[in-house]
């Protein structure tokens, strides 16, 4: 396993530093020392020094990170465990040492267009009504439901299209393999299709994240403007296209790390919820949010994901929150599976529909 000089520098800085220990949603869920940025860095630093082999269990540990960026955000010096973790995943792929669950997901993606191996969802309509593309993403198509989001856009009088054969954005490939040629190929294919539209509204923050960040970073030519669903809906309310009434409900936003940290978008969801009612914040909010679950990891660490989601419910409960609102389909699905009876869970579109 060969690391770049930049990664080596970050690994060596993190290997003896524990300062971000408290913010790791995985470490907090498992209580395992190896689920800390410093333990991962220590293991990789020893691989780099040839004192430990880049073996199955070191690689397994590299895949136990959600890449949520909590550690990176917390670090006042700017060290970046996400960067070297992704590089280590790429290294495992190049060395032909990917865990079986990863190769299965990649095969699924190649065969079915999604990592879950799900068949096409017959309930998702194909709409061709204009130059705004509503991009749903693989999580919703394979595991979720976009009915309310579609209804909301219709109520706002937006003309939009939904593709029958939506390309994969490349988020999951980026998560599993990092900057591999295969990841880039998936992204290029997606960009080609999306470039036929003027604007792409991304329902899933995961897709928005790669389109707005990785596509640019890797020079992938995407002609369409990309906006997040939350940003788009906040605009519809501001422009008077959605006349929401204050319902008196107190909402608690669950900031998706992808939106809050990767895209630095924290206010649109609050603008929407303030128009619909009032807001009760969790202690860890905005870019200090805590991940509430990752569907890719749910494929190989379901019990841990259950605890990650349950921990976020505990955070909400601790501030006497009643209604938790998510913007990420993955977090919604995992939070729904662990929802306490006395609390309510809504997607952002459900919150708005309730107030029209």
């Amino acid at each position: 396993m060969q690391f770049t000089q930049k990664s080596k520098e970050h690994i060596d800085a993190c290997r003896f530093c524990w300062m971000c220990h408290h913010v790791c949603p995985i470490g907090n869920a498992t209580g395992l020392e190896r689920n800390t940025a410093r333990a991962r860095a220590l293991g990789l630093s020893m691989v780099a020094r040839d004192s430990v082999e880049y073996s199955e269990d070191i690689i397994g540990n590299v895949y136990e990170c959600s890449l949520c960026g909590g550690c990176m955000t917390d670090c006042v010096t700017g060290w970046d465990p996400v960067m070297f973790t992704k590089e280590a995943r790429l290294g495992a792929a190049l060395d032909g040492k990917l865990p079986e669950y990863v190769t299965t997901m990649i095969s699924n993606l190649q065969e079915k267009g999604n990592i879950y191996g799900a068949e096409k969802n017959a309930n998702i309509p194909e709409i061709a009504e204009g130059d705004i593309l509503f991009f749903l993403g693989e999580d919703v198509r394979a595991k979720g439901c976009a009915k309310n989001a579609v209804e909301l856009l219709k109520k706002a009088g937006v003309s939009f299209s939904i593709l029958k054969d939506e390309p994969n954005s490349g988020y999951s490939m980026d998560f599993l393999l990092g900057a591999a040629a295969e990841t880039k190929a998936v992204m290029e294919n997606c960009a080609k299709v999306l470039s036929n539209y003027k604007k792409v509204v991304c329902y899933d923050p995961a897709d928005a994240k790669v389109m707005k960040r990785e596509y640019k970073e890797w020079g992938i030519d995407l002609k369409a403007e990309v906006v997040t669903f939350t940003e788009f809906v906040a605009g519809l309310i501001k422009d008077g296209k959605l006349n929401v009434k204050n319902s008196g409900i107190e909402f608690t936003p669950q900031d998706s790390p992808l939106l809050a940290r990767d895209l630095e978008e924290t206010e649109p969801v609050r603008e929407i919820l303030s128009a619909c009612g009032s807001i009760r914040e969790m202690l860890l909010n905005r870019n200090y949010t805590m991940l509430a679950g990752n569907l890719i990891m749910n494929e190989y660490m379901p019990q841990v994901m259950e605890t990650v989601a349950a921990n976020r419910w505990t955070n909400a409960k601790n501030v006497d929150a009643k209604v938790l609102v998510t913007t990420s389909p993955a977090e919604y699905i995992l939070l729904a599976a662990t929802k306490p009876e006395d609390m309510e869970l809504m997607t952002i579109e459900e919150a708005v529909l309730k107030c029209l």
Binding site: A13, C14, R15, F16, C17, W18, M19, C20, H21, H22, V23, N28, G31, L32, E33, R34, T36, A39, L42, G43, S45, M46, R49, D50, S51, V52, E53, S55, D57, I58, G60, N61, D74, C75, V76, T77, W79, L283, L284, N318, V319
Partner: protein
């Protein structure tokens, strides 16, 4: 150990804590072999493997901990308790192999008791998490060490940790009410329901600071406080250390600030200049006063009058506020000493009558015997009767032998020289980082025949000597 016996023990441990919580994986063994101790870091940096545990187990409560200790006693296997690994003294390193007992699954917050003003939690809880739990209800733990985010409740208790607001709120041993402890034989005990009593010696204080040598603390009630209505900072510059000690001592006869930190001229000119921005020469002192606003105003008046008597220059509130904001920044890589430097913090404590003498003696001893080492210090925890020195030696990477065995010897020699000088002048072997394997050899020099008290307790509670061997000098 034969492969066969290894499998016998592994399956028994799996039975005790669950298969997924008993590991023999390389990543787990490596993760639990290097803590914040310079020697373990240097060893790993040179591409060497530190001593590793054979089994890494993570019990979820006292019952599972008890089961693990019973197995360990039966097979006479060493048990090293691991919190989060942030210790600087090598206390959590499994030097004899065996079982590493990671406490972090015991992280449950059982109760936030607003009547008794405490949080009851598993000792594997990261302290920042109990601080968050307190904050969510409008309270605070007031335990703010630099390792707040990366150490467990049990870790702080095990080595008698301390936070920056200690002068007002005390050390960790002042913050605990009741504890649950698993004895080496597997018995689960509780200390008395109140920390102040006349029911014999204080059981809490027998286990606090015992560094995993007498049992495993599994649950604790930690004090919480109301958030202060007002917190104000004031920076001062003293002409010399003597004036600063006298001013600090006099102030503490009048009231207790929360933060009191005095930096020697070398640290004022290095770290304080870099992080806080104080450019002037002298000894910088930062004071925080907090509590009910009216009382804070009165205390501020007393503070200014007292320090003016000793010629302190009042630097206003700006530097102190900056220091508070950046108090943890000092410890991130890039700001803190790191490999390839060789460094250590020899914190010691003594009454006012000897503290300054100890400082100068240690400075002279280190700088004379090890001219390649820099010596800087601050005095960060103050009492009515004395205070502690947080003195550091730093050797530049170019002066540290590349050969790990030679680097090891240099490190040990500097430590022995510094701590022996502190002891010879009336100091204590350590103030708040603990002893671990780093200072075990000096415990007998500190205590002499008094060491038999510790040895007697150890022998009675842990006759097989399985609990964290070679730590604390036991």
């Amino acid at each position: 150990m034969t492969d066969f016996l290894f499998d016998v023990i592994a399956t028994e441990l799996e039975d005790a804590v669950g298969k997924e919580n008993c590991s023999t994986r390389t990543i787990d063994k490596v993760s639990h072999s290097v803590d914040y101790f310079w020697l373990s870091r240097m060893w790993a940096d040179r591409g060497l493997r530190m001593p590793e545990g054979d089994f890494i187990v993570a019990p979820k409560d006292a019952k599972e901990t008890s089961a693990v200790l019973k197995i360990a006693n039966y097979y006479k296997i060493p048990v090293t308790t691991w919190g989060a690994g942030g210790g600087t003294q090598g206390g959590a390193i499994p030097v004899c192999g065996g079982i590493v007992l990671d406490t972090k699954r015991m992280n449950k917050i059982y109760d936030l008791n607003e009547q008794g003003m405490y949080i009851e939690c598993g000792t594997g809880a990261i302290y920042k998490h109990i601080e968050w739990a307190a904050n969510e209800k409008g309270y605070a733990t007031m335990h703010y060490p630099s390792s707040l985010t990366c150490s467990t409740v049990g870790g702080f208790l095990a080595h008698r940790g301390i936070g920056v607001s200690s002068t007002k709120y005390g050390k960790i041993d002042d913050m605990v009410l009741q504890m649950e402890v698993v004895l080496p034989n597997g018995d689960i005990i509780e200390t008395s329901p109140a920390p102040k009593h006349a029911a014999g010696p204080d059981l809490n204080q027998i286990f606090i600071g015992s560094e995993g040598t007498l049992g495993v603390m599994t649950k604790a009630q930690m004090r919480i406080y109301e958030q202060p209505e007002s917190r104000q900072f004031r920076g001062f510059l003293f002409h010399n250390m003597t004036d600063a000690f006298n001013a600090g001592r006099e102030l503490l006869q009048k009231f207790k600030p929360s933060v009191m930190r005095l930096y020697d001229e070398a640290e004022t000119a290095s770290l304080i200049k870099k992080i806080v921005g104080v450019e002037k020469k002298g000894a910088f002192m930062n004071i925080a006063i907090e509590g009910v606003a009216e009382m804070v105003e009165l205390e501020k008046k007393i503070l200014l009058e007292t320090f003016a008597k000793y010629g302190a220059e009042d630097l206003g509130s700006e530097y102190g506020e900056k220091w508070w904001k950046e108090k943890i920044t000092f410890f991130y890589p890039g700001h803190m000493m790191d490999i390839p430097q060789c460094f250590g913090t020899m914190d010691t404590i003594a009454p006012y009558g000897t503290i300054e003498k100890i400082y100068w003696a240690m400075k002279e001893a280190i700088e004379t015997n090890f001219p390649q080492a820099k010596f800087i210090a601050h005095f960060s925890h103050w009492y009515e009767w004395g205070c502690m020195i947080y003195d550091r030696f730093i050797v530049d990477g170019k002066d540290v032998p590349q050969d790990p065995h030679e680097a090891f010897r240099l490190h040990q020699a500097i430590w022995s020289c510094g701590v022996r000088t502190a002891l010879a002048n009336g100091g204590v072997v350590n103030d708040h980082h603990g002893v671990g394997i780093k200072l075990g050899r000096l415990m007998k020099e500190q205590y002499g025949p008094a060491m038999q008290v510790f040895e007697g307790i150890k022998k009675q509670l842990d006759p097989n000597g399985i609990m964290n061997p070679f730590k604390l000098g036991l």
